[in-house]
């Protein structure tokens, strides 16, 4: 059983959904982001999404764009990100790690080399924003051979027929992009999620994570209950960015983000409001 499957089964037994916080690798520098990554499981992260900085993040809003710029300025490369995951794994084997990014750095690294090195480093899944199912063939055979889950993305405007098509080969979990838009901007309402998410669940047996626009503990709680997981990204990066001085990390950088994750985790663990 994969680490992702094991984690979702354990949470099912606990009767709650997952909290998936996000961080951008090398933001604002390697050591700070590694320290943050290492502290996340203790703060209540059930799965962690690690962004791979890219020069042209066309599906991201200003918050994650700036994080990517800081990461690149700090010297991030895909090889460096994999090395960072390797160092994280030296201290923790349980928490699944999913990389998120854009296709070109992976394409440059090479499909097979990436799947091999990523799984060796302890990566469990990959989300590529600009790789729809139709264009996944160059990566999929290698991902399957090495046991790396390609996480499928679906959106509010994905039709039933397309859901069936896209989720036919779903692995790990499904990422439901809850708004038609970019990261860190609008949020879906509870009613919208209650309408949309069951339609996704109806066509797949893998867990559904909800992301984009989740920023408050209450939103995280609701999403983790309607779906199987809540992904929280831009708000954490905003917190991180607010602690920087001249673009550099300060004493309060890691603690501030960790405190916010603790609050989110507490909400996801509360059963309040379950109907």
């Amino acid at each position: 059983m994969s680490r992702i499957q094991a984690r979702f089964e354990a949470l099912k037994a606990e009767g709650r959904g997952a909290l998936i916080p996000y961080l951008q690798a090398y933001d604002p520098d390697l050591e700070t982001s590694l320290a943050l990554l290492k502290a996340m499981p203790g703060a209540g992260a059930d799965i962690i999404e690690v962004g791979i900085p890219f020069s042209d993040p066309s599906a991201d809003g200003p918050t994650i764009q700036l994080a990517a710029q800081r990461g690149l300025k700090a010297g991030s490369t895909l090889a460096g990100v994999l090395e960072m995951i390797k160092r994280f794994r030296q201290g923790g084997q349980e928490t699944p790690i999913v990389l998120m990014g854009y296709l070109n750095p992976i394409h440059t690294y090479g499909a097979e080399a990436f799947c091999r090195d990523a799984t060796q480093a302890g990566v469990d899944g990959i989300i590529l924003v600009d790789m729809p199912t139709e264009e996944a063939v160059w990566l999929r055979p290698h991902a399957e051979a090495y046991g790396l889950d390609i996480i499928a993305l679906v959106a509010p405007n994905t039709s039933h027929d397309r859901l069936v098509h896209v989720l036919r080969e779903a692995r790990g979990f499904v990422y439901y992009v809850s708004i038609t838009g970019i990261t860190g901007t609008a949020s879906a309402s509870e009613a919208q999620l209650k309408d949309a998410v069951p339609k996704v669940k109806a066509v797949t047996s893998v867990p559904v994570a909800i992301g984009f626009g989740i920023s408050t503990p209450e939103q995280a709680r609701v999403a983790s209950q309607i779906g199987d997981a809540a992904v929280v990204a831009s708000t954490l990066i905003r917190t991180l960015a607010s602690t920087l001085v001249d673009g550099r990390a300060t004493e309060s950088t890691v603690p501030a983000v960790i405190r916010q994750i603790e609050a989110l985790a507490q909400a996801v663990r509360s059963v309040e409001g379950v109907s």
Binding site: S58, N104, E135, A155, V177, T180
Partner: protein, 414 residues
């Protein structure tokens, strides 16, 4: 699946024709595809369907022909550049006068076609990216013509160096949003236009300005621009009784070049040459020559040659010409490069500036700095060819927008 130009529905493509691409998944050999976020997939599938329906609809062809003639001002003349020919002392030089189109460049050919498709789809809001501002002006123009809301994304650097076009777009009723991300040039404007599109999927049509982006844009834009080559073929046969020996066009994303090349792809005796912007020199690290100095990668919806670093981060391009300042190129060019059908050469900023002045003084035409890149190559090769040989150059746009840049480089304050 063949895709003959809508303007020439009668043309037939042979099974082994170089004109039959892309395949039904949008690939030209190893280039092209549909690398977009899932949120955009339904939109580009819907667009493909709408475009196929338009292609097959005679009333669409008729409507487009009407606007080409009475609004764009087509056909554009093929001008024999007598003085330039005599000065260079070699091949006869013809200029395809796309700068005479309404709004001053070839861009309106594509925009006119796409706006009719957008109207068929019931879209009410148009977004577009622009570099030099020529595509933005063309888009703002048709939005005014049809009463559609128009938002243009333009890199902040380009807003600065193309001020007249920014004001022109404003006069036409469009909102111009400067993009400060990255170096503030065309690729950043493209990113921002895609972000807008993803956030406004219901009512918004993304009007791509060149033969790049996810399928079906490269094919569709090429088809609309192919009117250039189709006319050129008829005109050169009328003037000379034969096809030219060479055709030269400047390459930004590649739309004016694809437009003039495509009808000639199977005429293997016609040499096709694309002039990429070499900026400060092909090996200066400051170029926009994606084919000469890039390698295949994925950006803005397609797999194509890109200027990028060893990690796959996209490099900033550099060219004096805002319309060529893009680190990628349309996927069909990448394929034509790899199979060797088209030759791609680099032309520096300085060579383009020199050619700008030659054209102005010898033919009485201020060329766009983009087009001046093609002319610079013509100036290099014409003297090496015989007097009985013929070169056609695509004069893709007029240079009025560039007089400030040129003035600055020749040390004149306006």
């Amino acid at each position: 699946m063949s895709a003959s130009s809508p303007a020439t529905p009668a043309q037939v493509t042979l099974p082994n024709s170089l004109r039959s691409g892309p395949d039904d998944r949008g690939w030209f050999g190893e280039f092209g595809g549909r690398f977009v976020a899932e949120t955009l997939m339904p939109l580009i599938l819907e667009l493909e369907e709408a475009y196929r329906a338009a292609q097959a609809d005679p009333s669409f062809q008729k409507e487009l022909a009407f606007y080409y003639k009475d609004y764009v001002g087509r056909p554009s003349p093929l001008w024999f550049a007598r003085r330039l020919t005599e000065t260079l002392g070699g091949a006869k030089i013809y200029l395809k006068r796309e700068e005479l189109n309404h709004t001053g460049s070839h861009k309106l050919n594509n925009v006119m076609g796409q706006i009719l498709v957008a109207r068929r789809m019931g879209k009410t809001r148009i977004v577009a990216e622009t570099g030099a501002g020529q595509h933005g002006v063309a888009t703002a123009t048709v939005c005014a013509l049809f009463g559609l809301k128009c938002t243009i994304y333009m890199g902040a650097t380009d807003v600065e160096r193309q001020k007249p076009n920014v004001f022109r777009m404003n006069l036409l009723g469009a909102e111009v949003r400067p993009v400060t991300a990255g170096a503030g040039t065309l690729k950043d404007a493209m990113n921002e236009a895609m972000r807008d599109w993803v956030a406004n999927v219901e009512d918004t049509y993304f009007l791509v300005g060149t033969v790049a982006g996810p399928h079906p844009y490269p094919e569709m834009v090429r088809d609309f621009q192919s009117i250039i080559g189709t006319e050129t073929k008829e005109q050169i046969i009328a003037a000379e009784g034969r096809l030219p020996d060479a055709i030269v066009a400047a390459i930004g994303g590649g739309s004016n070049a694809m437009g003039i090349f495509h009808p000639f792809l199977d005429d293997v005796d016609v040499k096709l040459i694309g002039a990429e912007a070499a900026g400060l020199g092909l090996d200066s690290g400051k170029t926009a020559a994606s084919l000469s100095r890039g390698r295949p990668g994925v950006l803005h919806g397609n797999r194509t040659y890109l200027l990028q670093d060893a990690d796959g981060q996209i490099d900033e391009a550099h060219s004096i010409s805002a319309g060529l300042d893009y680190p990628g190129i349309g996927p069909e060019h990448s394929w034509l490069n790899d199979i060797g059908r088209v030759e791609y050469v680099g032309v520096t900023d300085q060579e383009a500036l020199d050619a700008f002045q030659v054209c102005s003084r010898q033919e009485g035409i201020l060329p766009a700095l983009e087009s001046a890149h093609a002319l610079a190559h013509v100036i290099k090769i014409a003297p090496t060819m015989g007097k009985d040989q013929i070169i056609v150059m695509n004069l893709s746009g007029r240079g009025d927008k560039d007089i400030f840049t040129v003035a600055q480089h020749v040390g004149v304050e306006l």
